[in-house]
Amino acid sequence: MRQEGATKVVFTIEPFGKLVKLTVTHEGFGAPSKLLDGISKGWPAILSGLKSLLETGKTLAIPPEALAIEGFGSQ
C-alpha cells in the first residue's frame, strides 16, 4: 500500500441547522488499489468514532481486525 502514490482528502464542514454535516471525499487512487479497498473500510470506522467522541465523550472500541483490511491489525 505504501508504494501507491499520494491521494487527496477533502473535509467539508457545513452548519446544518443545529447540527454539523461533515463530508469526506478521497480521490486519486490507482486501479487496482489496495489502498482504496482499505481506506473504504477504514473511513466509516474513523468517522463513526469521531461522531461518538463528540456526542458522548467516548470513542468506539473497534479492533483493527474487525475491519477486515488486508495487512492491517492481523499480525
Partner: protein
Amino acid sequence: MNIDKFKPLTVYTIYIASTPEKVWEALTSAEFSQKYFFGNSVEIEQRVGGAYVVRTPDGALHISGEVIECDPPKKLTVTFNVNWPALIEKLGPTLVTYEIEQAGEAVRLTMSESHDRPLSDDILSGGRQGWPAILSSLKSVLETGKPLVVRMGPPERMLAALKELGIGTP
C-alpha cells in the same frame, strides 16, 4: 422474488456502540423509527414474504415493500418502493439490505440500496442525501437516547431528474 440481478448502487457503513439486537429493533420498530427516520414509522412482518411498510407522520403510505430475507439480528432485505406514480414502472424496484455485524464492542451496520438496472447519479442523489442523515440519527438515538433534529430540504436534484423522466412527484 429473484434478487440475483440487483446491484448495490449506494452503500453506507456506520459503527454504533450498541448490540445487534438493539440495532435490529431500531430498524424494525415503528416507535423507534419515528425518532430517526424523519418521523416515519416502519411496519414489518418479520418473515420472508411479509409486508414492509413505511408511513409518514400523518399515517400515509410512503414506502411499500416485501420482506425478501429475514435473519434477525443479522440481515434484513426488503423491497423499498416509494409510492410515487410511475416510479417503479420507469426505474424498477428498489431493494434495501441491512447487514448487522459485531465489530469488537461496537456493531457495524451496512445499508445497501440495490437496483436491477443502472441509474444516474441524479436519480440516486435523493437516497444519498437521506441515508447519511437517517443512519447518523439512528446512531445518536442508540448511543445518547436523543435523535438528531435534521431539517433537510427536499431532494431537488433527484426531483428534477424524476420530472425529466415524466415521473410525477408530490
